[in-house]
């Protein structure tokens, strides 16, 4: 159906002007950060925002709000969006499954489950410990979903992946509910789930920054390997790739990124699912472009979602979680991905010949 079109797109040079595209994306990102600094409960105009940086006065409430509340929140949005989107791109490349993403594959559920458990069991745990627990929980969720979903005869079909993810989420949710009811905790945990990047401090951002930096740099470093992995295990091995080693490295990067992002902003869904699809549509299949593109696009999406959520607070008379905004976009996108083909048992993200894929990423097959 669409294979000819994909073939053409895959065999053409992926991006005509990557530099121009990157500059445009960075410009949009800066605009997003600016909007994020301007929007909020307290009305602060543009000149006040500017003077908060040029002539900072720690006595002025407006300046403190801009520098110590809105700026860390914007930076956190950028980092979390980039981390989730890049994690999604890596997962879709390694599993060669269009529905693979931190939310569907149980990583965010696992991470938030482990954090909830740690908050109950170890009330004295500090933020670094909680982040470690969150990474471990992401690992638990991913291992459960991936391990169980790949047990079947026909491998990891999208339906099986989604069903397993749902079942693992429901299972961990049931255990979490039991713990919650047994310890008589209620809205504390709800607020933790729903808060997004609200109330993030420089301290939290500083903790996540090195984690995200290492993860994102690692993702860029393994980008060529990811391109080769999308060709399938046999071809990748034939091209001299040590697939097991590469997959382990990719999994470690994904866990660090998702675990850190969840411990900073709670479970924010669908960014890791949507962004890689959009970016692959724009720049093609070469992961040296897909990874940085996903980082930029994910940051932008998270910023826009957060600003939208803040803007929606007034008409809704209650704070709107950023996860609701991303779900509003993500559910139709998921439906589109799930329904676009009559058979869903296709392991490839795109129906395209291996030769065309190889050419798209600069490998002659």
């Amino acid at each position: 159906m669409r294979s000819r079109e994909v073939f053409r797109r895959a065999s053409a040079p992926p991006v005509a002007r990557p530099l121009a595209a990157a500059v445009a994306m960075l410009g949009l990102l800066l605009l997003g950060v600016a909007a994020s600094l301007l929007v909020g409960d307290v009305p602060i105009d543009a000149t006040a925002v500017l003077t908060a940086f040029t002539h900072h006065d720690s006595q002025l409430a407006q300046h403190v709000i801009v520098r110590d509340w809105r700026l860390p929140r914007a930076v956190a949005d950028v980092l979390v969006g980039a981390a989730l989107a890049v994690a999604g791109a890596i997962m879709q490349a390694v599993t060669r499954n269009p529905l693979a993403s931190p939310g569907i594959m149980g990583l965010t559920t696992g991470a938030s489950f482990a954090t909830v458990l740690a908050m109950v069991m170890l009330p004295a745990a500090g933020r670094p410990e909680l982040m470690l627990v969150s990474v471990a929980g992401a690992g638990l969720g991913a291992t459960m979903v991936y391990g169980l979903a790949s047990l079947s005869h026909r491998g990891l079909t999208p339906v099986r992946l989604a069903l397993t993810g749902m079942a693992v989420s429901a299972l961990l949710g049931a255990i979490g509910n039991g713990v919650m009811i047994y310890n008589e905790l209620g809205q504390d945990l709800l607020l933790w789930h729903a808060r997004g990047t609200e109330g993030v401090q420089w301290l939290d951002v500083g903790l996540f920054l090195p984690v995200a930096g290492v993860g994102l740099l690692g993702a860029v470093a393994i980008a060529p390997t990811l391109s080769i992995l999308t060709l399938g295990d046999h071809v990748a091995r034939g091209l001299g790739q040590r697939t097991r080693w590469a997959k382990c490295l990719a999994a470690a990067i994904v866990l660090v990124l998702v675990g850190g992002a969840v411990s900073l902003a709670g479970p924010v869904g669908f960014i890791g699912l949507m962004v890689p699809h959009i970016v692959r549509y724009l720049v093609g299949l070469d992961h040296r472009l897909v990874i940085p593109g996903s980082a930029l696009c994910g940051s932008l999406l998270m910023l826009v979602a957060d600003v939208t959520a803040r803007l929606a607070t007034t008409p809704f008379k209650a704070s709107v979680p950023v996860g609701v905004v991303t779900a509003l976009l993500g559910v139709p996108f998921f439906l589109y991905l799930a329904c676009r083909r009559p058979t869903t048992a296709r392991p490839h993200p795109e129906p395209v010949s291996q030769r065309a894929r190889g050419e798209a990423i600069g490998v002659r097959l």
Partner: protein, 335 residues
Amino acid sequence: MIRSHRLHPTAMLLVLTVTLMTVALVSLNLGSTRMSLPQVAATLLGQGEWTDNLVILQMRLPRLVLSLLIGAGLAVSGVILQGITRNDLASPDTLGVNAGAGLGMMFLLVMYPTAATALPWLLPVGAVAGAAVITLLVFALAYRQGSVLPSRLLLVGIAVAFGAQAAMLLFSLRMSFVMYNYVVTWMSGTLAAGDWQSLQLLLPCCLLLIPAALSRARVLNVFSLGDGVAASLGVSVERQRLLLLGVATLLTSVCVALGGHMGFLGLVSPHLARRLVGGNHRVLLPAAALCGAILLLAADSLGRHLFAPVEIPAGVLVGILGGIYFLYLLGTTRD
């Protein structure tokens, strides 16, 4: 798959019934007030003392009947959904019926915060309406070129459930602390609020819908041969599918409205029953109903007893056990 050591289906139904009655008697006996078996029997026959009457007739018996009906209802609707989609993994959970019921109830509570106290019957109605809307949406989205593909139905159900969860998060932030706790306890599937009043709605629905499902057992048998064969055998496929779907949705949403989210019960009981009595829906439907009732009753009794005085909702226990079984099924079945 005929196995020689399997009991005759009728005998198996009898065994299940006896098991159910045993579990029910034990459940009546469990709790902070201990009673001997003759005491329980005397109370049931109307010869009990005043305190025994209060504990058994006003507190334990309605809860027992509620868990029996909810377990049976969810199991029957699970059999129907698996039959009409011809997919072993279909269930009220995977089709978003639970999420829809929760959403409908939350919507009512946010819009009319006094509804819970002023009009107790309004909440179940809201849950039924929400479940019906979500199910219709799922089927409309999965409907393509005259047929509903099972795999697409599952994916659409999961996506819609995600959306409903996000909407519930939004609603729950606007609720007061007390109301939120009420909703969370309800959503995790507790039968603690069971009294004779809540049975007034459930009992007629179950008495109407479960026999309706039983009377369609032959249609479900024919469905398992495939749409084409069913049509050539004289079944008006789309109409029967719609009818059965309506029965399943109504049954599930009434059960969820009164009992909350009983994770995976509607999925596990049909599978258990199929292992016990085989695939003929005439025995499968009653066997599944019995299995569901036994499971829920056992989970409720255990949850009441295990960590007393804190009560673990039956839905949590069923969800944990059912989730593990579901994952086992996923690992072993072909789709």
